[in-house]
Amino acid sequence: MTPLSFARAADTAAAIGLAGAPGARYLGGGTNLVDLMRETIERPQALVDVTGLGSAIEDQADGGLMIGAAARNTAIAEHRSVRTRYPALSRAILAGASGQIRNMATLGGNLMQRTRCTYFYDDAAGCNKRAPGAGCDAIDGFNRIHAILGASPACVATHPSDLCVALAALDAIVHVEGPAGARSLELVELHRLPGGRPDIETVLAPGELITAVELPALALAARSTYRKVRDRSSYAFALISVAAALEVAEDGTIGDVRLALGGVAHKPWRARMAEAALRGGPATRSSFLAAAEAELVDAAPLSHNGFKVELARRTIVAVLGELAGDAA
């Protein structure tokens, strides 16, 4: 058995120092990493518990909101500012996992969670993400839950987070600190597409730690929502999900829009082509459909997930229609 040490970090600097040990991993609520360790997919030699670090949720002077990476999912979902100013984020969190898991899981851990591809979990299967070079058994396997956008011949896994889809739509900024100092990046730049290296899932350097996520001031975010389509109505991962914010002007045209998809790709998918098609146009069902088509034009379904293209199209149209209300 691999030796394993455990240390609780007192502050960010201490955490980064402890993470310099060979085989070290940051540990949040444990809802994903502990499971993967038990399956021996993850084999850390040192755990650095970062749940004692910043977890505050604070309104910013510029109208934004800063959320410490150790904030628990429940704490974010129930926060008054999130519920009223960024409802898509609250809805996305509440659509994920169960009450017990939301009480444990942290924001940083949610961003860093790994795919739920069944072949990734099955150590008898070929998986380039788990064992680089081993091939991908999902591509010709049972791939109903897999990606339709941005996949590669090496990997067709999806990112499982609901929360990240809302963050992608809401222009979230991720703050990180590491051995080389602090920096920030857009949430949509954090996760990678698989390409030839599906084992590398984010752009974070070794030892870099997510310390906070910032939601910029965004007036239309107050009119945002999240819809998740899955095989059962609760406690299941998304087949398709849509996070959106919409601002419709008095003349019935779309002033501004944010749109992101979940369950479709190796990363939370910001639907910029759809957004471009929508801005300035009429807030009508036919525009919503045209925008969905624009985003899905490059969709490349596998043998069992062709339904996702149509499901994504319909869910986008339904969510935009809901946000447009009487305007549509």
């Binding site: 038990r38 429940t74 519920r83 809805r91 509440l94 169960s98 444990m104 609760s234 406690y235």
Partner: protein, 210 residues
């Protein structure tokens, strides 16, 4: 509540800086100087296991012989292992015990003094809220945590108005909030009836329902 002294429980294989006196007596309530803060389990102080991999669930069942908490899937999918930590419901199978140093854990055995039933336990009996009983301790701990979340106004996926400060415990709300606890026997109707009856009766919940 704990069966016997710590020495019998085999919590430590050898000397360690965290060792507490192991004389076969009741576990010490106070933390000896220079020793890590223990976990409090059903009111009693318990040292952190030596093996970092030990889950809170295995600490309860295998080391403390508190077998009321059940191991169902051991991967966070069934809710049978639900316990309360500082009043909040969590899954003990996904919790490394080492992370819960200094926290207060209550399992099904610790809900009430020995020999007494919690009102929700009585309601489960009255409503046939179980068949084989394996999911029952997790259902009960989860429902108690759920009721606290509802009291403080935590919304759920089926809450229509996110801005609302109170929500009624409707059938839809109850089922959604309890969706993390599976019952393979199919006793869900009895479970829902027992939870609804118990928590619709409390003043805070009745107020929320108005």
């Amino acid at each position: 509540m704990l069966v016997g002294g710590l020495a019998r429980l085999g919590l430590r294989a050898g000397p360690s800086p965290r060792d507490v006196p192991q004389n076969g007596a009741t576990p010490p309530a106070a933390v000896p100087k220079g020793v890590d803060m223990p976990i409090t389990i059903n009111g009693q102080a318990v040292p952190i296991p030596v093996d970092v991999r030990t889950s809170l669930l295995d600490l309860l069942r295998e080391q403390l012989h508190l077998s009321g908490t059940k191991k169902g899937c051991n991967q966070g999918a069934c809710g049978a292992c639900t316990v309360l930590v500082d009043g909040e419901r969590i899954l003990s199978c996904l919790a490394l015990a080492a992370q819960y140093e200094g926290r207060s854990v209550v399992s099904i055995e610790g809900l009430t003094p020995d020999g007494e039933l919690h009102p929700l336990q009585r309601a489960f009996i009255n409503h046939d809220g179980y068949q084989c009983g394996y999911c029952t301790p997790g259902q009960i701990c989860s429902a108690i945590g759920m009721a606290d979340e509802l009291r403080r106004g935590v919304p759920s996926a089926v809450t229509a108005d996110l801005a609302a400060t109170t929500m009624a415990l409707t059938g839809d709300e109850l089922r959604e909030r309890m969706s993390g606890n599976l019952c393979r026997c199919g006793a869900h109707n009895g479970i829902v009836a027992a939870i609804a009856e118990t928590f619709a009766r409390t003043p805070a919940m009745a107020e929320a329902a108005e």
